[in-house]
Amino acid sequence: MLKKSPWVIHYDASSCNGCDIEVLACLMPTFDVERLGIVNAGNPKHADIFLVTGSVNEANKKIIQNIYNQMPDPKVVVAVGICACTGGIFAECYNVAGGIDKILPVDVYVAGCAARPEAIIEGVAKGLAVLEEKKKKLDSMAKGLEELTVVRAELADAPEILEVQKLAYQSEAEIYNDYSLSPLRQTLEELQADFQKQIFFKAVMNNTIVGSVRVHMDGTSCYIGRITVSPVYQNMGIGKKLLKEVESSFDAALRYELFTSHKSKRNIFLLEHLGYSWFKREKVSETRERIYFEKKNKKG
């Protein structure tokens, strides 16, 4: 039914209003997109399709991202007009970042300066096919959660693990406004070297790696490091599953130890939920503190 009732939200980035007027022309009697069920919703939370006209500039970057984040899944982004596609004649301006795809995943590009109403309608119609596809993907993702497996990773998995790690630590970097975190700077060679010292576990869903964790034993202590979960798959219990897998694989250890940063509330919540308690705090920079958590193995 997604195809029969696409609700649109239209945002004017730094457009000259040429494309905006053409978008509005689509709603008028000549073209009347409402006969296809298309409604200009004006509210991101009700919208399925995000129509953006004009290029991204420094002032509206956050607004565009905000509107996109507020739209419920499945959603589609349609870049209308040459400015939205590439930046157009404004591409070289000092305040212009470029096309919409600089900050959002664009699904359909509509060319033209200004884009003609027929082209915009065709763009939305193409977007509908993408919408259906995304819905299928979401459904398979929900199914994939049941098929989530946590297994030992091999050296060949290193590139994929690194990719997920860099995505996952973006949110951490945002919290502390520090993009020099070591997980973000790690190179593939360094990660491959880690495979010599540590044991890696990967969480696999639909044949793709969505999270990982690394562990090494030192005496009777088991040290757990870098629980990473790909941003899309967070809040699904994958981190918990990874930790449980580590604990059951290393049940000979007397205690488990790991650390997280002090503002990472979600991590702290998860750890406390799983029975970990903190025992040490350490300042690593002006803005960041590390909190060390431990858990005694009851069997030990």
Partner: protein
């Protein structure tokens, strides 16, 4: 047994009819504006789509209130079909609106806040006309039971002409039509983003839509009561009232809440109270 069957079938048919009516509404509106307009089944498509979408919330509890809103609206429809006390129906309907308002407040965004406040004002605006209508119907039929009122042998619209005018006036509020679609509207009029429904998406929004189908049918059922002496004329009157509302919707701009409030109270008191005073003079 046949009464139970009637209630159940009414509960099933009412939303389907409500959806079809809103589809027809959109079609006629489009034609009035010189457009082709969507399919008359568009309302079904919209709700089925919303069920497939993700349900985003500001607070989880906001959708809890929406569930109660829907349940109470269905309950009201059931009461109506059962021919229960008209005052009970009116209060159950008001209670459902209160849950809707609470949901809007719970969502705690400035837009849904203002939408909720306006919804409250709308409830206060239409309430006098509705209660006066119940009193007028009692004075003529000597019963508050909808069953008795519907079975009254003469047309209620004649002795209650003033109350009918007052009710038609506030019908625009109940159907969320211009000039009184202050709290939220279902057209692409963009005011306050989307008013009270701003923060609802996916399944919650679908529930609001379904509740609205029921509400429309309840509102039109009240119009039917005025002409219930002949069911055919009653249905015809309800349809004409709805068509009239569509024309009104397309002819008027939205008014401010002060005007919506004062005008609906004025109409309710001038037409309604005068009607009741005249009635009390004739009926001893």
């Amino acid at each position: 047994m046949s009464k139970v069957l009637f209630i159940i079938s009414f509960l099933i048919i009412a939303p389907l009819l409500g959806a079809l009516l809103s589809g027809i509404d959109r079609k006629i509106t489009a034609r009035l504006q010189g457009r082709v307009g969507p399919s008359i089944f568009q309302a079904f498509y919209d709700v089925l789509k919303l069920l497939e979408k993700e349900t985003l919330v500001v607070r989880r509890s906001q959708n809890f209130y929406i569930v109660f809103f829907l349940i109470l609206v269905i309950f009201t429809t059931g009461l109506f079909a059962a021919g229960a006390n008209i005052l009970l129906v009116i209060f159950a309907l008001t209670l459902s609106s209160v849950f809707f308002v609470l949901a809007g407040y719970k969502a705690s965004s400035p837009y849904s806040f203002i939408g909720s406040q306006r919804e409250l004002i709308q409830v206060v605006s239409y309430e006098p006309a509705v209660i006066l209508m119940a009193i007028g119907m009692y004075m003529v039929t000597r019963s508050f039971n909808i069953g008795d009122i519907a079975n009254y042998s003469r047309p209620l619209a004649l002795p209650l002409a003033g109350l009918l005018v007052a009710f038609i006036y506030i019908l625009a509020i109940k159907l969320r039509k211009s000039p009184f679609d202050l709290s939220t509207s279902h057209h692409a009029h963009q005011e306050l983003v989307k008013g009270i429904t701003t923060e609802f998406s996916g399944k919650a929004l679908a529930m609001i839509e379904v509740a609205h189908w029921y509400e429309n049918i309840i509102a039109l059922s009240f119009v039917y009561l005025f002409f219930a002496y002949n069911p055919l004329i009653g249905v015809l009157a309800a349809v004409i009232a709805y068509l009239f509302m569509i024309v009104v919707d397309n002819s008027f701009a939205r008014v401010k809440w002060q005007k919506a409030f004062t005008s609906s109270w004025l109409v309710a008191f001038i037409f309604g109270v005068v009607n009741i005073i005249v009635l009390s003079y004739f009926i001893k």
